[in-house]
């Protein structure tokens, strides 16, 4: 099983929010609204939105990184022109969100939200800074590993995916109940990006590569 279960008691917030019944399996219906999805126009997404280090008076504090990869369908075909949204904490592990009470500094030069459309080969590319780990109150001494949140649409509403990208070698991964909620270790590893010297730009930014594979659509079975 690729996806985590709804109920994963180690992640305390699932206990009152996980549905108690399994989802109802839909019968095949080629007319179902869910087999299509919204289309996003190039005019709707500013190319500058893919650079999270821009748009502020100065440079953000932190390790500048490039995060790039491809959005693919389950058959390995690229998914072009699909919206990818990301958000993250700053290099100190603090979100630009009013409910984040972690006593780490905000960075006036970093908000931590970006978006782009994939190109004709399904590629996305963001410039950002490496997010910091941060504490949360799930259990005593709980820390989230560094991660970037990803939201991807795909071709159909059934493919809609929200997930998190992690960094290789993070010592917090074995202790994180959200990462560990994915039961299959091989599937879990697919959430970890790869350091890539070819993506790295000399004297400027480290490069990480991470491909995203969306689920099949029921139509693809036909």
């Amino acid at each position: 099983m690729t996806h985590p279960p709804y109920l994963h008691p180690d992640y305390a917030s699932t206990v009152l929010r996980a549905p108690s019944r399994p989802p109802l399996e839909m019968k095949e219906d080629p007319e179902a609204a869910e087999l299509t999805g919204p289309v996003f126009g190039h005019g709707e997404v500013d190319p500058l939105d893919a650079d999270l280090t821009a748009g502020h008076p100065g440079e953000p504090i932190g390790e500048r990184i490039i995060v790039t990869g491809r959005v693919l369908d389950a058959a390995g075909h690229p998914v072009p022109n699909t919206l990818v949204e990301i958000w993250q904490a700053n290099s100190a592990g603090r979100y630009a969100h009013q409910r984040d009470r972690h006593p780490a500094p905000l960075d006036p030069n970093f908000t931590g939200a970006g978006r782009c459309l994939t190109d004709d080969e399904g590629r996305y590319r963001f410039v950002t800074i490496k997010p910091g780990a941060y504490p949360w109150r799930n259990h005593p001494n709980a820390w989230r590993p560094a991660h970037i949140h990803f939201s991807v649409f795909g071709r159909a509403f059934t493919q809609r995916l929200v997930t998190q990208m992690y960094f290789p070698g993070d010592p917090l991964l074995p202790f994180d109940p959200i990462f560990q909620s994915v039961p299959d270790p091989a599937a879990r590893e697919r959430l970890v990006s790869t350091f890539d010297l070819d993506v790295t730009e000399p004297e400027w930014a480290l490069g990480y590569r991470w491909d995203i594979v969306l689920g099949r659509t029921p139509m693809e079975d036909a």
């Binding site: 996806h3 839909m26 299509t36 969100h97 409910r99 939200a113 998190q164």
Partner: protein, 163 residues
Amino acid sequence: MITPSQTVGPFFGFALPYDGDWELVPEGHPGAVTITGRVLDGAGEPVPDALLELWTGDAGTRGALGRGGAGVSGFGRCGTAPDGSYRFRLAPPARPYAALLVFARGLLKPVRTRVYLADVPDPLLGSLDPARRATLLARPEGQDVYRFDVRLQGERETVFLEF
């Protein structure tokens, strides 16, 4: 080789909402209806940090992100308020339902359901007993307003779907 889902977490509010995200049609659009309700957890408490996405199945002519123009969009997004409430303004969909996705802290993957604006003959509705079917039916409430609560867990738990 599918990428696993992870929770949207509590801190998406500065990133995913956008201007007019809940307005699939502009204010004053002829025939527009509003779907509103609350997201509730297994204790009946409101979920103040959920994100809902509505899809009618028809892209329409209005931007999905850029809401400047007139016309109709098939896609909307709405984060819940502190009382767990959300709303969408839309043109009545061509189908008897709109598709709904709910993301939240504590949901490691989204729940998906359908908001039916009428109790019409339908394969999904017809497969459910009356109590379960009722969880998918939006209740008319005043003129052009429909109420649809999402109960994530427990008694009267909303019927969630898998494709």
